[in-house]
């Protein structure tokens, strides 16, 4: 097996709050290979964004991160000092954020902010940085790239700003890009373009890509592997065919029932809804996080901590006591 670009083992984030310890991210293990797209899906607040920030070591000050391993191209980063992390960030792994409107500094031109990303990490001249910026702006589909360098963020549309953010993430030619819902804040028409662009660039530059989203339609189109996240944990992780074709976890099934998927949902078919609410993640919670909403819940579910297990032996792992065939009966269609 070739070396993974990113390998994360048992990552957790905890945040002290007045009522106890909030654990928004628990037991996250994942890996991404070169040229591979891993999509992390889940509803808002399930811990997707915090997971990505934890990998970048960009968590808010109060948050505490623990992990057994966070390896970037084999290099262990879990105990890396801020200085080491700063050398890694934007250089070997970059991040694209959700809010293009506010993610660029209003006081500096696009050119300054692009060049800065490169010159921080590589010994290049201002002119070389400028050439690279123009090259990448063209790559991300911005016309008249050279003239854009002198513009300020407020002069650009949201779509353009997100393209600039992508170009910025690519400046140093990173091994891995983490995109945290990069299209949520954009117009629907632009969303598709940006995602398409990301997939293309990933292919061209042979990078690993972690795409965080709650849009299953997107996932179905571009994911190589899919991790489904619920209440701070991965509940299912496998190739796109495995997760979409034969979902094993009742929550994944519920999620798929709730979303129209091109080619799978027939016209006129009613979508479903999962009854109940997400549990509080304050304090320690034994057992399955989905137990309170699961139609197949049994006494065992709330008792023990449930590990990820490989039901088929093909790398398709899920966090449920039942086997894949046992959950087939779950359907939320018409439940609403």
């Amino acid at each position: 097996m070739s070396e993974h670009i990113l390998e994360v083992n048992n990552l957790a984030v905890s945040i002290p709050v007045p009522s106890g310890m909030l654990r928004p991210v628990q037991n996250i293990s994942l890996h991404v290979d070169r040229g591979e797209t891993l999509c992390i899906v889940g509803e808002s607040g399930c811990g997707k964004s915090l997971t990505s920030l934890a990998i970048m070591d960009l968590l808010p000050q109060k948050a505490v991160r623990t992990a057994d391993a966070i390896k970037l191209a084999g290099e262990e980063l879990k105990d890396a000092r801020e200085r080491t992390m700063a050398d890694v960030r934007g250089n070997r792994m970059s991040m694209i954020f959700q809010e293009p409107m506010t993610s660029l500094n209003p006081a500096y031109t696009v050119g300054t902010q692009l060049a800065e990303a490169l010159r921080r990490h590589k010994p290049v001249s201002a002119n070389e940085a400028r050439d690279r910026a123009i090259y990448l702006l063209e790559k991300v589909g911005i016309t008249a790239a050279a003239s854009r360098l002198g513009q300020y963020p407020h002069q650009l549309s949201g779509g353009l700003r997100q393209r600039v953010m992508i170009a910025m993430a690519l400046m140093c030619g990173p091994d891995l890009i983490i995109a945290d819902e990069p299209t949520t804040a954009l117009d629907v028409t632009i969303q598709a373009q940006i995602l398409h662009l990301l997939a293309e660039l990933q292919d061209e530059f042979d990078m690993g890509l972690i795409l965080i989203t709650h849009d299953l339609g997107v996932v179905a189109r571009i994911a190589d592997r899919v991790a489904v996240m619920y209440a701070g944990q991965f509940v299912e992780n496998g190739t796109a065919e495995q997760v979409f074709g034969s979902p094993a976890h009742p929550y994944t099934r519920g999620l798929l029932d709730c979303i129209p998927i091109p080619g799978k949902t027939s016209p006129g078919e009613r979508l479903g809804a999962i009854p109940g609410i997400v549990p509080s993640l304050v304090g320690h919670m034994p057992g399955c996080h989905f137990a309170s909403r699961c139609p197949l819940v049994s006494n065992d579910c709330a008792q023990q901590s449930i590990p990820m297990r490989d039901g088929s032996g093909a790398g398709h792992v899920f966090r449920c006591l039942l086997d894949q065939k046992d959950t087939e009966a779950v359907s939320y269609k018409g439940a609403a």
Partner: protein
Amino acid sequence: MLVFAVKRFGVAVLVALTVSILSFSMMYLSGDPAIALAGEGSSQEDIENVRRVYGFDRPIIVQYGDWLWNALHGNLGHSNYLKSDVASVIFERLPTTMLLGACALGFALVLSIPLGVVAAIRPNSLIDRVALTIAVIGQAMPSFWFALTMILWFSITWRLLPITGTDSWKNFIMPSIALGYYVTPAVMRLTRAGMLEVLSSDYIRTARAKGLRPMTVLFKHALRNAIIPVVSLAAVQFGFMLGGSIVIETIFAINGLGFLAWESILRADLPMMQAIVLVLSVFYIFLTFFADMLNAFLDPRIRVA
């Protein structure tokens, strides 16, 4: 930007005109300005003489127009106490006050901006609390009392600094601190609030995600944006300090505009008082105008609209 500048300038001129009317009407606050100018115990003849010489017998609107016309040509009247041209006295004293104001502002900014930044980096930390305490205490200290206390310690007890005069830079240390400390809390709080807001913004996260060094993130990306409102505040406070220098200059016998104002008030030197109020107000008006321009220049969202 140009439209904004022109509009803003128009407002400044209008405010300046209004202030000139107010300063002019100060003349009539005491009742008959001729009596006030002639001094107590002057004869009826003297008073009539003053009335004629100063033109108080003309309609008020004509007097104002005349006064304004002269003021616009740099003629701010004649001080019959100093037997001299008001404008030349004022512009002789103005540099001293400006120097004092600049030193005081410098002191305030050097103290308050770093404190505000540090307090914002570690909110609710010990440094934040200490800074906040200094701010609260500073704001409650009467400047003249603070000045006297400093004299008591640094000049009388320890004999480190001269009390009065303007002979050397040492003379400016205590007055600058006494004038400037009152400004530090406001600047500090604004810097702290601005930095707190900016540091939690998305573009700071972007800067960190680029792997920029903490110092670069803090100064190039955060402070650059947080400092914009501080510029306006500093200008406003500089204007206030020039007005407030009257107390400090009096205590330290600094021969500036404030001291001159106090002297002319005690001597009921009306043209001088009027002129000083006008000069300081107009200076403030254009100071804030330039501050707004600088502000717009610092913020590309306004400059390159």
